[in-house]
Symmetry: C2
Subunit: 341 residues, 2 copies
DNA sequence: CGCACAATTGACAGCGCTATCATATCTGAT
DNA sequence: ATCAGATATGATAGCGCTGTCAATTGTGCG
């Protein structure tokens, strides 16, 4: 078992100086053809793998971007992460993903971890943070991008959608379609879900239709099965005429539960989801939803980060609203199309 | 704007030596109460964040685990990744996820990247690699865990399921249930899908039922929409009596397409998916599928990695078969339950 | 009181790479 | 032939931390 192979070993074998090897590996075209070949051969023969920690320490550049998401377990964030990867990897950045598990404390740790790695930008889901998190991010002097919501006071760039308004629009579309008893279903209260609920509440109040008995929830992470369980809670107070579900998983479960209980969708009860996941268009009946543009959001977030990295610290305090769209399908007939935000 | 805060700055402010600060941060209990307090205050006052690159270089330990998945865009891998995170983070390991985009060349790069970061173990989806990838992994002398399939020659630990057999069992269950013209649907040919297809082919051959016209595919990444499109290809040759779909997304799309075309599921055509995603139990009709245990697989993979890391290199050449289960629902009536692998 | 021993703290060197500046080599125009 | 200017390579030092071993202090016991 051989000891660790370093740049010096390669240099010795190729009979050049270590610094030349370093250059040849990072910037092949600035080294003469012949040396490049000698070095490549030496690298292959020795199975040399550069030590990134040493490189990062010496160059004070990590070539890494930190990303914080609440969970990996949700397609919402998969699509977004995929977009981030697709923008960053081709330009030589590594993407470091950390999972805050919907907790502001864990988010604070995540920020600390990422800053410790000297990531060159941080992209985070959400706009609410602990005071210390905000301070750390501000002091870090690196580009910070907050996503998925719109911020009152963005730390750097902010790109997202107005979740309160989306919830409001979703609800009032149902009201405009003639439904009076519009119910609301939700699971765990993450920030974004809570904002959408506020939108629902305001719309119901504005229409003079609010009633606590119309809102059902259960503190568990969203799933189709949970949608069915929460829907079943209406058995006690009587079922509403329409239900706005905090996301499509809940909506699908709710719809199945209705059908299991002999309620026809949409004749007896209309159902509206959120996020427009792929299965919404393929459920039966097909599920109406609010389309959010996760992939685009990730893409734009990444591009904004790159823009700031290239310009040096442009003081960008930009807020980008990417909006949302009501997608009307069979589960909510007769609904007018509301404009995006 | 202040220059970078280092350990030395903290040491100076706390009036102790740098090494003591280092110790206090890593192992608070071996430092006296008073110093610990002084140091903590200094850290807070300065907003000190340790430089992980320096730490990794000096200690020759990365406290990082490398994970390679083909895509982030698929729940299959989200569940698996979540499991890995849940095991590794609490014991102080960082999880570095890299995306090979279903390409062996990108996988090779991913391995190189991870080894460059001196990750302490590598967990990779799949068992087929380029020669160089294998060599790099073997030479690295770190625990290597291959997952999702069973390997002929595992590099280190292997935990997965027999995809060929799963495809065989799925198909022969349909045959045993009395279907003769059993079709097959597939999208992109990733390794695992290809193995399941081989299982299908063998089962059909063994039953003397094989026919190329029963197999339809389209080289695109799996999605519900793709399932509908590929199913539609049967319009030319006539529809089979049953279809085994390479995964549940394709199966759901296929089912919808059948219904759109006026074919009743399961009366006119039975449909069987793979992976048993959550929506399978909530489709209408509910979708039969082969349940694979992604979360458990991730969990066991992580635990095995930890075992090797703690024991030093136990030469574990273990192969762990976690099996699969046929889950019978409405889309394939009258099907007997086959045992897991 | 002196000593072995544990419990704390510190000095020093070095991890493997790259930034910086210096040197050597090669153009081609005068 | 000569020299400015580009091009290619090398020497040196240091990034910020931790492993190792040494030095200091405190403790209990004969």
């Amino acid at each position: 078992m051989s000891r660790k192979i370093t740049l010096d070993d390669v240099a010795k074998l190729a009979r050049v100086s270590p610094i030349t090897v370093s250059r040849a590996l990072r910037n092949p075209q600035i080294v003469s053809e012949e040396l490049r070949l000698r070095i490549d051969n030496a690298v292959k023969k020795l199975g040399y793998v550069p030590n990134i920690a040493a490189s990062r320490l010496a160059s004070a550049r990590s070539h890494a971007i930190g990303v914080i998401v609440p969970t990996l377990y949700n397609v919402i964030f998969s699509e977004y992460l995929q977009a981030l990867h697709e923008v960053f990897l081709p330009v030589g950045f590594q993407v470091v993903v950390v999972n805050s598990r919907y907790s502001l404390e864990e988010e604070e740790n995540a920020v600390r971890t990422l800053l410790g790695q000297r990531v060159e930008a941080i992209i985070v889901v959400g706009v609410n943070h602990t005071d210390l998190t905000r301070r750390l991010l501000q002091q870090s002097r690196i580009p910070v991008i907050e996503t998925f919501q719109l911020a009152q006071e963005p730390i750097g760039i902010n790109i997202g959608l107005d979740q309160v308004r989306a919830g409001y629009d979703a609800t009032s579309s149902l009201i405009k379609a003639g439904y009076r008893r519009v119910g609301f279903l939700m699971g765990n209260r993450d920030e974004r879900a809570t904002e959408r609920r506020r939108g629902y509440e305001r719309a119901m109040e504005d229409a003079g239709l609010a009633s606590p008995s119309l809102m059902k929830s259960q503190q568990q992470s969203s799933s189709i099965a949970l949608g069915a369980r929460v829907m079943a809670q209406f058995k006690q107070d009587g079922f509403p005429e329409a239900v706005f579900c905090i996301d499509d998983n809940l909506a699908l479960g709710a719809m199945q539960e209705c059908m299991r209980l002999g309620l026809r969708v949409p004749d007896d009860i209309a159902i509206l989801g959120f996020h427009d996941l792929e299965f919404a268009a393929f459920a039966s009946p097909t599920l109406s939803s609010i389309a959010t543009h996760r992939y685009e959001m990730g893409k734009i977030a990444a591009e904004q980060a790159l823009r700031l990295l290239n310009r040096g610290a442009g003081t960008g305090q930009d807020v980008i609203d990417i909006g949302y769209e009501l997608v009307c399908r069979q589960s909510t007939p007769d609904m007018s199309i509301a404009g995006p935000g």
